[in-house]
Subunit: 759 residues, 2 copies
């Protein structure tokens, strides 16, 4: 297909606003009568609440309301099919340092802070458990009233793994572990809730999923969803942290209802680190076996996931790991055992990659261990086992297009694999592959969405889309999709969204689904609009529709035997407005035809209809003196299906790689008695601009039979293989196998020392 | 049709917000960095501008910008087919006291006001003309560079009026006149313009027609319409004054562009009276003839309309008078001559009734004069000539439904006509009929509109409609129409509008068109939604769609031979969301099939497809000592087609009658040398609550073949017959025929005196 608009690196629609500082984020919002809300959080990791005295706080001048669990609805926070365990404020117990105990609202922040200090809580400290494996022990303290801290389990088997391992010529068995890391959004989580006199609650907040958060807040408050409206604006990052509702929103709502005024609650940066949730930490016992011809034959993984104090997205994450670890290569015999375990820590939640990063680290590291055992080149080993387009995995995944080999080949070519694998000194390269959903998937409710397009009298195209803009540029991508179909640059397209009253229902921006799902809906609407525009042009020019196309902001008619005639869009709309009978307003829909039995997929991975492969090759240098690992370069080859916007696609990959390097080397929450001690950017190390390695992005355009114009989502995939690629590069550089993330200097130094000592 | 939702007096959707004061009007809007703009207006009725010195104003601290005609685009303010004569700021001349000369913006209102005082303008005063008939004289001063002050003319003839008058047994020839009156909106005209860094202009303003004002402002500024967005909020009245763009909006836009900040310009109450435009004053020479059997046989009217300094809606108003005066009754021979004449006064514009009120006063008064001559009861005379349903007028109007006789009968019955016509003392009753468009009409662009409906996961219905809410309750009416179709109370329907970026194109709220045009579009969308909902219910219940209806928030299925099954909407949506594949989002369209040759209707009135008749009977008492006319009661029988909302429909009629009584008796702009001297509510008398007569509203439900559920628009019609009904009642009470509006005490006293003296 000859593309006119797609693929080009148009600046984002919000670029100017953002670089000039004019863009308004939710934190910038002002409102008459706004009160400042604040949450009193538990200072103890595990305790019984004996008594709360709010009288002094209530008596403070400027305080408008003080609430404890007695004053708020205590509906359980449950979302779709997953079990639920959280109320808005703690009732009898607190379960982590940061648990919501009480809340206030006052005329300003200082008064709210003083009021928080004046609330007196009597706690009875309980034994706490901070390690997931310890928490599984029968005599561990129990966080919730249930028989065990294991709150969710998954077991799946394909083939006969035990028999298969016996048949293998090479088997590798290792333990890998990853830690909790933070999303580190530059805009902290915040909201304003306003409960108006008509009984309707409006929430302004930075959220990735306005429609589902609307449902969640209604459920917690015990009111009809109809009574709730969510509005978001520009967002300073989400990365998964703004997918599931945070309790500050229903708390602000209750405070607003009590006071009749809008109430803002905004995380401090410390709260952002201590309570805004993390990526789940995994302990993984992995075993992979291959035949001597190099075929992968069996894999088994046991995951123990550190849930934190409440489930949140834990079950879904564990399930997603289950879906992904085995679809990675076509391995005939696999077993997955997952346990999600409560600990007295901050909960986990969704995080870019969603359960894939942890298992990719383990499985892709182990592939290299196995390759080493087999004395095979790890790239060649992967090539041998690579998926091919049209293949149906043993895991159940149907993979219509697959750029796996192409990704590996292009990345290897870019780095000169054979030369770089054999460098002198402590330099080396490593490869890792990734597989990720390129369109979310059908996990709950409908993986479908609608869009509206209306064309104004001057040819201005307005797209009303539920695509949630969180800074990733989804609105710009939508404009480019519509622009391609209508032959108009995206700058001429006005994108409206971010308000549940305005936009059709959609599940939100997560799972790399926006471009695929909302993009397909936008494209469907654009197709309808195109039909109408061409029909009008046909009427005007007296040329059959089939001979008319839209491009460069005009209709171009070329009937056989006649000269080409050109009609500017403005003229078409002028005619529409002044001569024809009606404006152009259309609806487009993309609907998943998965059928009604979606709720627990009977077959692994069958609820995902588009997959994206990627290969990363990292080059590192290890400092023998300090243990420092310097990442020199990352080559990221990633299937984009087709590229919607070159710059934005590269930006997604680059951002992912940067987060991946942090995940591999620098990021880690440090806790003391359950309290996060590194609760700021001074002590929690994310990569700054000068730490970022050279990144070379290769977009592999395999096309997707169902994506808009063939596009796949790529918001997450780039983060998945970075850590194992670095770990494998370290092994190549110095022979040290890294089993835990982050890979610390201490570990490297110690390992090099042990290696030297011949251990 | 059995109606469940329609007709009922549901409270308006915005009622609670409004009565509690929570509703935010444009005047309430705050914005960071907002500057205060103000306009320097001419203090002289007609003058040449010799020089303007803005240097002192520019030097004042706190002033951000000062502009004159040199600094702004001078594109002519033209709208569709009518001639144009106005620029944003005066260039060489000023033409009325209030003409825009320069503008400033400053940090606050006081600074802006001081800056205005510091602008020095040197004027050369020119002769001014304040009377339309004088302005037509060949030696009158000319306002614009054209041969005459007559700026628009209409001449139409049907039949052979001269011959017909010769055939008449009775002919009556009189001169009537009406004065300029003000709209008196409680919220003054105001706007904020913000020209952002992307080059896009957003205007927040109280407007009846966001989409067409958007086009107008783009035209004046010489920019693409795409670059402009109009947002309105709650409005404190329009009545026609907020249909055509006021120059404050482009001026604020220019100031915003210059300063990079949002700029507010808001009329003072004095500006509202002196510059926010008026109803056109008409001088009318009317001649009506009848045969002795009582048949109306010929009518001729010459209208001289006082335009004021610029045309604005003058040509359209004159044309509409032309359309309406002859469609009133079926008179075979008619002639209309209209002249629109410039004077050095504030311009006229649209005003509820739009050229119909003036001619109704003249023609309906004259019918009584003629009846008196013929010694016929004026009601009987009207009955004899009443239109009948399905008739085609000589004027060209096709009137599918007509409640004229029914209106007269029901009003006469309510008042006990024969008894009341013969009261002792100076008490009397009078009747007048009205005919008005019930759906606007196709005058420019498309009389068509679209709507979107989306149904949320909980059954919440959201309607996205371009219907412009100006306080008349149109959004509530839309909710009731959608509610009727979907079997859901309007309180469960969320109406979104008031933003040109969000809503499809529509011409706005004027010409009583909203209910008909936007209502039909909303109904079309509701029908689509209903189809989907019933389809889903059919799938769930395994009952054929034809046996399912929607009512009381549920689907009711009754297949022959099976028991009735009920399915709540929430369950349907739960199924839709959790089991079916896609959300429900639909588009509805109502399109006028008038065809492309709309621009100047070849046949009178053919561009209006729905008509509403009305009859009012006024009862008055005249005070012989003071000349005071006290209106005791007004009975208003009005065709509603079918009633959408009983309370709102009655409210429209009552509000119209109150405005009509003011028009008849108390309202008048008083000028001295062209300057309005009664520029506040102290001196300009509108009716207050204690002046309002008893009003009895009778809604006549004739149905309309094309209106939504048969509804007709009735926003204006109630104002049209009030003044002539009062004039005719005065004649019945004391034998004085009133030829001018307002009917003053002085005139009544003088006339009674002359009558006594036997003149």
């Amino acid at each position: 297909m000859k593309r006119k608009i797609l693929g080009k690196g148009y600046p984002r629609l919000d670029a100017l606003e953002k670089v000039t500082g004019a863009a308004q984020y939710t934190v910038d919002l002002k409102m008459p009568g706004l009160l400042y809300g604040m949450i009193l959080r538990s200072p103890i990791a595990h305790a019984r609440i004996k008594a709360i005295d709010i009288s002094k706080a209530q008596a403070l001048k400027g305080v408008h309301a003080v609430v404890t669990a007695k004053d708020v609805p205590l509906n359980i926070f449950s979302f779709y099919q997953w079990a639920a365990d959280k109320t808005m404020l703690a009732t009898d117990k607190v379960r982590y340092v940061g648990d919501e105990v009480a809340a206030v609202c006052a005329v300003d922040k200082d008064t709210a802070a003083r009021a928080i200090e004046l609330i007196e809580v009597e706690y009875e400290t309980l034994p706490a458990v901070f390690d997931a494996e310890e928490a599984m022990s029968p005599d561990a303290t129990l966080l919730h009233e249930r028989e065990s801290n294991v709150c969710f389990e998954v077991d799946r088997v394909v083939g006969d793994p035990d028999k298969a391992f016996a048949e293998c010529d090479y088997v590798c068995e290792e333990r890998y572990a990853t830690d909790k890391v933070c999303h580190c959004c530059l805009e902290v989580s915040n909201c304003i809730a306003k409960w108006d006199q008509s009984g309707r609650l409006t929430v302004w907040t930075n959220t990735q999923a306005p429609h589902t958060q609307r449902q969640e807040v209604a459920r917690i408050l015990g009111i009809s969803t109809k009574k709730v409206r969510f509005i978001s604006s520009h967002m300073g990052g989400g990365f998964g942290s703004k997918l599931v509702l945070d309790m500050k929103t229903p708390i602000a709502a209750v405070l607003s209802k009590m006071t009749g005024r809008p109430v803002r609650i905004q995380n401090s940066r410390s709260e952002e680190f201590c309570t805004a949730k993390t990526r789940y930490g995994y302990t993984m016992y992995v075993k992979t076996g291959a035949k001597k011809d190099g075929r992968l034959w069996a894999r088994e993984i046991k995951v123990i996931a550190d849930c934190g104090a409440y489930q949140d997205k834990g079950p879904a994450t564990l399930n997603f790991s289950n879906m992904m670890f085995a679809a990675h290569y076509n391995i005939p015999n696999v077993r997955y055992t997952g346990k999600l375990v409560y600990t007295n820590k901050q909960m986990g939640t969704a995080f870019r990659g969603f359960g894939n990063n942890q298992i990719a680290f383990a499985c892709e590291s182990q592939l290299d261990s196995l390759a080493a055992k087999m004395d095979m080149d790890p790239l060649e080993f992967r090539m041998k086992n690579a998926n091919k387009p049209g293949e149906k995995m043993h895991s159940g995944a149907e993979i219509p297009t697959c750029g796996m080999s192409e990704c590996m080949e292009s990345a290897a070519k870019a780095v000169d694999w054979n030369q770089k694998r054999n460098q002198k000194g402590l330099r080396g390269i490593g490869v890792a592959n990734s597989l990720h959903t390129a369109q979310g998937g059908r996990y709950y409710a409908y993986a479908a969405t609608d869009s509206f397009i209306k064309i104004a009298e001057d040819g201005m195209i307005t797209l009303i889309t539920p695509a949630a803009e969180m800074g990733q540029g989804i609105h710009s991508a939508m404009a480019q999709i519509v622009g391609e179909e209508l032959g108009i640059p995206p700058t001429e397209i006005n994108v409206i969204g971010s308000d549940t009253d305005l936009t059709p229902y959609d599940l939100g921006s997560w799972g790399s689904r926006g471009t695929f799902v909302c993009g397909n809906a936008a494209l469907a609407a654009a197709r309808e609009a195109k039909k109408e525009l061409i029909g009008i042009a046909s009427e005007m020019l007296e040329v059959k529709s089939e001979f008319i196309k839209l491009e460069d902001g005009q209709a171009v008619a070329k009937a056989p035997g006649s000269p080409e005639v050109i009609l500017p869009m403005a003229e078409i709309m002028d005619y529409t407005m002044n001569k024809r009978k009606a404006p152009i307003s259309v609806r487009g829909q993309w609907a998943d035809d998965m059928g009604p039995d979606w709720d627990v997929p009977k077959e692994w991975t069958k609820n995902v209809r588009s997959w994206a492969f990627g290969t990363q090759i990292a080059e590192v240098e290890v400092d023998e003196e300090t243990g420092e690992v310097k990442v020199l370069k990352v080559i990221a080859a990633q299937e984009s299906g087709i590229t919607i916007n070159q710059k934005m696609a590269e930006g997604q990959i680059e951002g992912s790689v940067v987060q991946g390097v942090g995940y591999a080397l620098t990021e880690k929450q440090v806790l003391a008695e359950g309290k996060v001690v590194n609760d700021g950017f001074i002590d929690y190390k994310i990569l700054s601009s000068e730490d970022i390695p050279e990144i070379e992005t290769i977009l592999v355009e395999t096309g997707d039979p169902e994506g808009p114009f063939g596009a796949k989502g790529l918001g997450e995939a780039g983060l998945v293989p970075t850590a194992p690629a670095i770990a494998n590069a370290i092994y190549n550089a110095c022979g040290v196998r890294c089993y835990e993330l982050p890979i610390t200097r201490e570990f490297i130094l110690k390992s090099l020392k042990e290696k030297k000592a011949g251990k």
